[in-house]
Amino acid sequence: MIVERKELSFLEKTYLPGIAQGIKITARHFFDTVSGRKKVTMQYPEEKWTVPEGYRGAPYLVKDQEGRTKCVSCQLCEFICPPKAIKITPPGPEVRDELGGVEKGPEDFEINMLRCIFCGLCQEVCPEEAIFLMKDYSLTGQSREEMIYHKDKLLELGGVHNDTIMKWKKKDEEARQQASFH
């Protein structure tokens, strides 16, 4: 395709109207900003924005309303995590009672927030609804080690997620009702 180049008039060839036009535009922006008529930036640490719904912030672990750690250490999030930010230490074979009817829970759960890209695949893949991307976006620390969040910290930051199904509890209750058969 051949684009016809428009022949410039004498005035346009002097560049002057173009320059004047540019100066006009920048001047408008300058005065808009200086007078405060238009505002697009925010004084960040003093002013904060309202984090929208569905925002993908830092991933944290949650407990259910009965205080049980929902994670069962299936390690699917560790598997799916694109930057390999998650590392789960499985509990090992010892039978534990503190997990509330679930045989398995994480011994430790580490998320390296320096590696995390906040993609939300861990939340999507979690079969137990145990990990959620929350609204935290400003994570800081003094060292790399500090930026690796461990289980306790993740649970504390994650708080409680109201579980309407309570799968494991229901299963446990069902089994108790049938106990007479065994």
């Binding site: 320059i19 535009i25 300058f30 200086v34």
Partner: protein, 361 residues
């Protein structure tokens, strides 16, 4: 030259440098704040009230950064280049009359009768700093930047020099100095010759329309554009041109050496602005309220300096404004403009002015 002369000159130099250095520092702040406003941002506002202490923070940063010299550079030239960029910009200030008089002393460090020639001589030197930086870095981008710079500066110097000739053709009117001047001016100009910069101010002091910007608008336009090119400011910052040459001639520089280039650019801007104020905007005078004559008391003397700085500030803001408005010229466009447009125009301007003067006489 007596000891007293030397002391007075020293005092003037110290005072002047004390004035210019903060101006350089704050023009950097101005650049950042104005560019921010143009781009709908806020700019640096954290250090001190309204970010006014930002230059201190910047200076500290430059001083504390590692002064790194790559091991493949030509060391002597590499170290010399930043100084060579900074010094000419300062030396130019020596002949600029930045005020009328204080305590009976003329507010110009060296009241040379060849002021304008001196200025052009010194301005030509500033190309060496940049060319040397490009050569000494021993690296391709700085080298390209240096080459561009030399071609650009030489081209525009010619247009610049040609453009001011009509101004002096007008001002070297002996009849004007013989009859048209008040007593204060006559005393003030005693012993000066045609190329003395104070004479030009005197010539423009009569009324607003005596300013050369109105008498020689074409000369002003050419001088203004050439000043942009000479100071490597956008739209003519081809020696630096981040998008093509990383950082051009100062790619390999860091820390205080880089800062010298950086501040040298602003010093050059101030020098060019000062020159334009003197040549085209009536220098330290204003054509009313009696400010059109050399000061007779301290207050007026200080006011004249303030007027000079005010006019200078207008040019500085204009420099900055243009930078954030116009994109960079292509190299061939730059050469076209310099040689094929401005040089003939400047020559034509000389001839037209000469014809007019001949006709008038």
């Amino acid at each position: 030259m007596t000891l007293q002369d030397i002391l007075i000159a020293t005092a003037k130099i110290v005072a002047f440098v004390g004035l210019v250095l903060p101006m350089i520092a704050y023009s950097v702040v101005a650049e950042r704040r104005i560019s921010a406003a143009i781009q709908d941002r806020i700019g640096p506002n954290r250090v001190g009230p309204f970010g006014l202490l930002q230059p201190l923070a910047d200076g500290l940063k430059f001083l504390l950064k590692e002064d790194f010299t790559p091991n493949y550079v030509r060391k002597a030239y590499f170290w010399m280049a930043p100084a060579l960029t900074m010094i000419p910009s300062f030396v130019v200030f020596a002949v600029i009359p930045f005020g009328s008089s204080l305590f009976g002393e003329k507010m110009v460090i060296a009241d040379l009768n060849v002021g304008i020639l001196f200025t052009f001589a010194i301005v030509s030197l500033s190309v060496y700093g940049i060319v040397l930086a490009g050569y000494a870095s021993n690296s391709k981008y700085p080298f390209l930047g240096g080459i561009r710079s030399s071609a650009q500066m030489i081209s525009y110097e010619i247009a610049m020099g040609m453009s001011v000739i009509p101004v002096f053709m007008l001002t070297s009117d002996p009849q004007f100095y013989a009859t048209g001047l008040s007593e204060a001016w006559t005393t003030f100009l005693a012993g000066t010759a045609d190329l003395n910069l104070s004479r030009i101010i005197a010539y423009q002091s009569g009324s607003l329309f005596d300013w050369m910007i109105f008498k020689q608008p074409l000369a002003f336009l050419i001088f203004l554009v050439a000043a942009f090119a000479e100071t490597n400011r956008l739209p003519f910052d081809l020696p630096e041109s981040e998008t093509e040459l990383v950082a051009g001639y100062h790619t390999e520089y860091s820390s205080m050496k880089f800062a010298l280039f950086f501040l040298g650019e602003y010093a050059a801007m101030i020098a060019a602005s000062a020159l334009m104020v003197v040549l085209f905007l009536g220098g330290w005078t204003l054509p009313f309220w009696g400010l059109d004559e050399p000061a007779s008391n301290l207050f007026t003397g200080l006011l004249h300096i303030a007027i000079f700085i005010g006019k200078l500030g207008i040019f500085m803001v204009f420099f900055i404004w243009i930078r954030w408005t116009l994109p960079r010229f292509r190299y061939d466009q730059l050469m076209n403009l310099g040689w094929k447009r401005f040089l003939p125009l400047a020559l034509a301007n000389i001839i037209v002015t000469a014809v007019w003067l001949w006709f008038r006489s």
